[in-house]
């Protein structure tokens, strides 16, 4: 009979201990990004003033991340949550946000940034899942376009300056340095791939439209008959036919998708599969620009 009271009382005591703990005076801004590319960009902007964690690995499909309680812990302590948005994380992030008990990083909170609000979105308005696992607000794979990634970086820098005005200059400088490096790299990438404007490519998932938009590639087919539906024999046969008719030689896909079908199609078309991690391997010190560099290298090789 007395046990519930004891429990409530001990909870109250422990809660009070929490109250008494002073917060460190000049801590880093703790940033949590849903995907590694955003984590990398945020780190470049914030430098030593921030600590950054990503909720997913580059080898993970960001549509299907497990809402592990360990991620709740990261969000509970975060000052800023940066998301890709456009329902990419809808299957796991909202549950983590609620469990985090952190008002800052709730949607609408001061420490929540949906990067998609800073870019121009493609393919918005798909609201019928008869078309597959579509994203009603638009295609969320915009980080393959460095121009859009640059806009996103600006939004992150602005958000950091608003959250931590004392270090606003650091963030502005961090952004300027990143933008310069990105623009320089982009000019190089564009020059290397300029010859392939209009080149037909096949992709696994509909995740490369922003890349095609940036480089002027012609995306002629996807191996998935519809987003989220695995390739079927009849559809793959159709893709090979289309690929042959359009002269496509390259199959683009993230490394987290199975590559057997892609290899088969590429073989039939006399081309190659370009298989890439879904983001920068930040754990190994790789940056967003490094990741894009790798992408352009492989793409240039395959398109040759």
């Amino acid at each position: 009979m007395r046990t519930p009271l004891v429990l409530v009382a001990s909870l109250a005591v422990v809660g009070l201990i929490g109250v008494a703990h002073p917060r460190p005076a000049h801590a880093d801004v703790k940033i949590v990004a849903t995907v590694p590319d955003l984590a990398s960009i945020a780190k470049e902007i914030g430098g030593k003033k921030v600590s950054v964690t990503a909720l997913s690995l580059p080898s993970q499909d960001p549509h299907f991340v497990d809402a592990k309680p360990s991620l709740v812990l990261k969000l509970a302590k975060a000052d800023l949550l940066i998301a890709v948005g456009l329902e990419l994380e809808v299957g796991w992030l909202p549950s983590l946000q609620t469990q985090a008990r952190n008002s800052k990083i709730q949607a609408g909170g001061a420490g929540f940034l949906d990067c998609s609000t800073s870019i121009s979105v493609k393919e918005a308005g798909n609201t019928d899942r008869a078309k597959g696992d579509v994203h009603p607000s638009g295609n969320p794979h915009y980080l393959y376009d460095p121009r859009r990634a640059g806009k996103c970086a600006k939004a992150i820098a602005d958000k950091l300056a608003a959250l931590d005005p004392d270090n606003a200059k650091t963030y502005a400088a961090g952004y300027a340095a990143f933008a310069k490096r990105l623009d320089g790299a982009r000019a190089d990438w564009e020059a290397r791939l300029a010859a392939y404007k209009g080149a037909p490519v096949i992709t696994y998932h509909a995740s490369w439209i922003y890349l095609s938009d940036w480089l002027g590639l012609d995306q002629v087919a996807t191996l998935e008959p519809k987003p989220g539906i695995p390739p079927t024999p009849s559809h793959v046969a159709q893709v090979i036919k289309t690929g042959k008719a359009k002269g496509a030689k390259v199959v683009l896909q993230e490394a987290y998708y199975p590559d057997k079908t892609g290899k088969l199609v590429a073989k039939k078309l006399g081309g190659a599969v370009v298989s890439l991690p879904g983001g920068a391997d930040v754990g190994q010190g790789e940056s967003y620009v490094d990741h894009m560099d790798q992408l352009v290298d492989k793409l240039a090789d395959a398109l040759k």
Partner: protein, 446 residues
């Protein structure tokens, strides 16, 4: 009460650093937010509670924060009063689209099954289980979810069946309580163990485990009440919670007051549930979640008789995320020890299930489950378990299932089981079930 307590510290913490750099003296600091905060009232913009959106200062000086706090709180209280007078009339016209965007996220999930039993009088214990030969509409669940305001979100699950509709859950969850606390209030499934708080569409098998049907009832343990949970500051995930809920309900609290209409004599007659959960990332691919739970409430057999249920749950999952793979393997087991005081003694029984599921391809998975419902042990003069008078010996059930997911919004399942109660002939059962989800269904927990 709770709202006031929550709102004050939140607003105060967020306020000290408005857009211009913080003024040097405390007096000046108090003046600046006051000016800022009057603006919303004049502009007829959001009430002062929204101010944190523009000004959060994670890097602010802690000492200054504390000094400024009382001044700021006073200023905000004045402004809140002013805003009350100056509250604008709602804008009119041209808002159809915007208003629609304020609609809650709505989703429907339908579960239908075809069943065939071999053996007399199948003893399925779940209310959503197929119970008879032929077709069963297990449920149509409507889920509603939306942020209420910056402090609460609202979730509800309304279930439609052939015999009517029921509000299974409708509760608010706090989003902005300090010190990693969270309150849920309304009507909800208690977080006893792992499976109890979840809905059939997240279950790996078509039917509810016997353990929950026997101990809590065919609907799982739920009721109107309130829950306080705390995410401890330990470096690994540790959450503790305590909830108080209505101990009535034949299908939701059968070992407690159940179908009895006995009123609560003291506040301690509510059902009290306490639980602790811990999670460990063993590495990127392996996860372990375990918990201990305890629930207690009076039972109607005597004047001061109570039922205690103690539970332990374990969930171990392997899902490779460091390389391309669709594979997932999960082991899940829960153990419930129930002790019911009777006027002349006690009845004790142990109920458990253990299941292993393997998703071996993007769209395919298999699973096996073993269940055990122990024989009731009597002390004292008690000789009859009035909830399940026939359940005098141990009962075991073995189940296997094969699942096909066309997409993550649909699921087809075939399941076969053999139920072996030691006191009667076994029952074989086969189910084919289909599940469809439409709408904006929320994210699930791990």
């Amino acid at each position: 009460m709770a709202l006031v307590a929550v709102a004050a510290p939140l607003t105060a913490h967020a306020q000290p650093t408005p857009a211009p750099p913080p003024p040097p003296a405390p007096a000046g600091a108090a003046a600046a937010p006051a000016d800022d905060a009057t603006a919303p009232a004049d502009d007829a913009a959001p009430p002062p509670g929204d101010a944190p959106e523009d000004a959060a200062a994670p890097d602010g000086d802690a000492a200054d924060d504390d000094e400024d706090l009382s001044d700021i709180e006073a200023a905000l209280a004045d402004d809140a009063a002013a805003a009350e007078d100056a509250r604008p009339a709602p804008p009119q016209g041209g808002l159809a689209g915007a208003a629609a965007a304020l609609n809650p996220d709505l989703s429907f999930i339908a579960d239908v099954a075809a069943a065939w039993f071999w053996g007399d009088d199948p003893m399925q214990t779940g209310d959503h289980d197929p119970q008879v030969n032929g077709f069963t509409l297990q449920q149509v669940e409507m889920s509603i979810a939306k942020s209420v305001d910056p402090y609460f979100r609202f979730d509800a699950n309304i279930v439609f069946k052939d015999d009517g509709a029921e509000v299974e859950e409708a509760y608010a969850t706090t989003l902005a309580m300090p010190h990693a606390l969270q309150v849920r209030a309304g009507k909800f499934l208690t977080r006893f163990g792992r499976l109890n708080a979840t809905h059939p569409h997240t279950w790996d098998f078509v039917d509810q485990p016997l353990a929950f049907g026997r101990v809590f009832g065919g609907e799982g343990n739920r009721g109107a009440g309130a829950e306080l949970s705390w995410l401890t500051p330990l470096p690994w995930y540790t959450e503790v919670l305590v909830s108080v809920t209505d101990p009535h309900g034949e299908g939701t609290a059968r070992s407690f007051l159940g179908a009895s209409d006995r009123a609560l004599d003291t506040p301690l007659d509510v059902q009290t549930t306490a639980a602790a959960h811990q999670f460990f990332d063993l590495n990127d691919d392996w996860s372990l979640l375990w918990g201990l739970s305890w629930a207690t409430a009076p039972n109607p057999s005597g004047d001061a008789t109570r039922t205690h249920v103690v539970g332990a749950d374990l969930y171990v999952k392997w899902r490779p995320i460091t390389r391309a793979s669709f594979q997932q393997v999960a082991l899940q087991t829960e153990w419930l020890l129930r002790r019911r005081q009777q006027p002349a003694g006690t009845i004790t029984d142990l109920d458990t299930y253990a299941q292993l599921t393997w998703r071996f391809a993007q769209r395919w998975g298999v699973g096996g489950r073993w269940e055990y419902g122990g024989a009731p042990a009597f002390t004292g003069a008690t000789v009859v378990d009035d909830l399940d008078p026939d359940w005098t010996e141990a009962r075991q059930r073995a189940t296997a299932q094969l699942t096909f997911w066309p997409t993550e919004f649909s699921r087809l399942r075939a399941q076969a089981s053999v139920d072996r109660p030691a006191w009667r002939d076994p029952v074989w059962a086969t189910f084919l079930s289909m599940e469809f989800a439409v709408g904006a269904h929320g994210a699930h927990k791990f």
